[in-house]
Amino acid sequence: MTAGSITWFANHELRLAWRDWLSMMTAGRRGRERIVAVAVAIFLVFAHLLAWYFVGRYVDVGTEPDKPALIVITGTVLLSWSLLMSQAMESVTRAFYARSDLDLILSSPAAARKIFAVRIAAMALSVIVMAALLGAPLINVLIARGGARWLGAYGVVIAMGATAAAGAVALTVLLFRLIGPKRTRLAAQIVAAVIAAVFIIGLQVAAILSHGTLSRMVFLESDTLVALVPEFDSLVWWPARAALGDLTALAVVLGGSLALLGAAIAVFSARFGDHAIAASGVAATGARQAARSGFRLRGAPRVLRQKEWTLLGRDPWLVSQTLMQMLYLLPPALLLWRSYGEGTGALVVAVPVLVMAAGQLAGGLAWLAISGEDAPDLVATAPIPRGLVVRAKIEAVLGAIAIAFAPFIAALAFLSLSGALASAFGIFAAAAAATAIQFFFRKQATRRYFRHRQTASRFATFAEAFSSISWAATAAVAVAGSWLALFPAAIGLGILAAAYWMSPHRL
């Protein structure tokens, strides 16, 4: 392998990507590879079992399917593609702004065009591999039960990854040109999050408005949609046909996607270096706040709470990350609004979504307040008992949750008072549990690692997710008026106890 050649750079990129992935999976701890391998294997087996249950009715769909089947497959492809596109945009933004080797690469005599061509291709490859890993259980089950023609689905996965990477590069470069390197970082991250959310939410909103349900499948298979979509011979269905094993469609979809990626590499790799230089030259300039005089000092707990809220409010990136989680509340809010005056049936669907969202949001905020303290030494050397600091931070988190969810509880109260009480309890329990788990597994880090906070402890991540699910189930069953709500509540408490038991900071 000649130094400086395309293959040499590709080898370098793949080695870095592999080590990054391994580090993410093992949280940077040596000797955990075997545990991770076992966990991945268990996950894959579990995912295949789930897939076996869910995809059964699509196994026998032939190469000439009916419209509902085409719609469901195309919808699934679009949904997955939007998530891949979002992931690819994240990768491109990282390549522009966060790679620490840009100075080295751009100051070396190696051709920047070659390096960035490899880098774009590596991004596409990582997106494809991720998509293939996530899609593998579904596709493998379809192959096992429906025959080898379903191998075409892997071709569609490759096409999706290639187009997502090409689209992400083009969109980011477009943003660069339109709004400049300084604003692109934030804009690209917001666009990535919106792309990921908009299709899922759009489908749910359509399902609610047309059928009064959160189920996307009900909407995708509805007669209304079947009547609206293009005819069988439309190009729109070619990805679905390719997935079903139509070799002509597969050749066109796969060939076209790879050609698109090749074109993106050819067009943008030469300019990627200039943009990367422009991005690296962006110095953070401090915004000016309105001058004021007179300190407003109201005791340590209050200044700590105020500090947390000020920092959150002034960081548009963190706000966007947080608001994106709130975006997923739109469908249940819409469902509640639509069901107003039609009884409490919709509550059973909407309440658990609210509780889940509260748990997830509280987990993120708690990480920021507890682990993401940017001046830990300052706070630790202040003459305040440690318990008071922790209490103030927990109050800051729960206060923010209360403000965010109060309108929903108020709306629920108009539908059903008991439902509102059960929801308020669920939201409080999920938020408090997520905050407690973040406290048990606190690990000092700066706020810019917010997106990678899950890597600090896989156990904490899963505990937080399952805890939110338990409290969501508790609230849903409680809203239905059943004492069986005690069971998921007991599971939620059990998860909290287990998290405490596993915590490195156990007293």
Binding site: A283, G286, F295, R296, L297, V303, L304, A375, T381, A382
Partner: protein, 246 residues
């Protein structure tokens, strides 16, 4: 005599002993410089004094207060500044000092007057209402120093405070520290810049292998090292080499 800092038998081990039975006394109103090779235990010692790290054994008294038994009272009179200024990017220097004043429960009027005075001294006044995210390392270090001084500490502990500062910023920081000592405060500082210790410190302590191997004025250290007219650098290297050989 009541020491500003009185450490007895201080021990701390991680994988290996970092501080091993350290005894150290710093007088009130003294500028004390703690020197030592990398990994000697300087930062670990000072972090234990600041209440950031619990010791395995030993006692720490700050102006007569037992810092291990009554950490809150001890923290009230101590300031800690590390080599990596930990400030909030999204706050302005004015807001940062307001936050620190709130943590130390200061009177609002007094705190604001002190904050304005410090910002003037350190050349931060023109940037008082700009967020810190665009500040250079030197500016950030000055904000952190202003935060450390705003509550009027009797003991100021600084871990490599001049690292990365330009000549002008370093001079401002040194001037502020000398003024604090002149006003009766105690400054304890680690530094790798031996000229700074030579010119500013009343007494110097040399630590190696987690123990104090030499202490005194520059003349006393020279005498201990048997080098009459040498610089602090020569004296320091001779004493450390002697300790390592032993």
């Amino acid at each position: 005599m009541v020491f500003a800092l009185d450490i007895r038998g201080l021990c701390k081990s991680f994988d290996r002993p970092a501080v091993a039975g350290l005894d150290l006394g710093v007088r009130q109103g003294e500028f004390y410089s703690l020197l030592g090779p990398n990994g000697a235990g300087k930062t670990t010692t000072l972090r234990m004094v600041a209440g950031l790290l619990p010791p395995d054994a030993g006692t720490i008294r700050i102006c007569g207060i037992d810092a291990l038994r009554d950490p809150v009272e001890a923290k009230r009179i101590v300031a800690w500044v590390s080599d990596e200024p930990m400030i909030y990017d999204k706050l302005t220097p004015y807001e940062y000092l307001e936050f620190v004043a709130g943590l130390w429960s200061l009177d609002a009027e007094l705190a604001e007057a002190r904050a304005r005075e410090l910002m003037d001294w350190l050349g931060l006044a023109p940037h008082a209402h700009e967020r810190c995210e665009g500040f250079s390392k030197g500016m950030r270090q000055k904000v952190a120093l202003a935060g450390a001084l705003v509550h009027g500490p009797r003991v100021i502990i600084l871990d490599e405070p001049l690292t990365g500062l330009d000549a002008g910023s370093a001079r401002q920081v040194k001037r502020v520290l000398r003024e604090r000592v002149a006003a009766g405060g105690t400054v304890i500082m680690t530094t790798h810049i031996l000229e700074v210790a030579e010119r500013m410190a009343d007494r110097v302590g040399i630590i190696a292998g987690g123990r104090l191997i030499a202490e005194g004025t520059l003349d006393e250290l020279r005498a201990q090292a048997g080098q009459k007219l040498s610089s602090l650098e020569d004296t320091f290297l001779a004493l450390v080499a002697e300790q390592q050989a032993a």
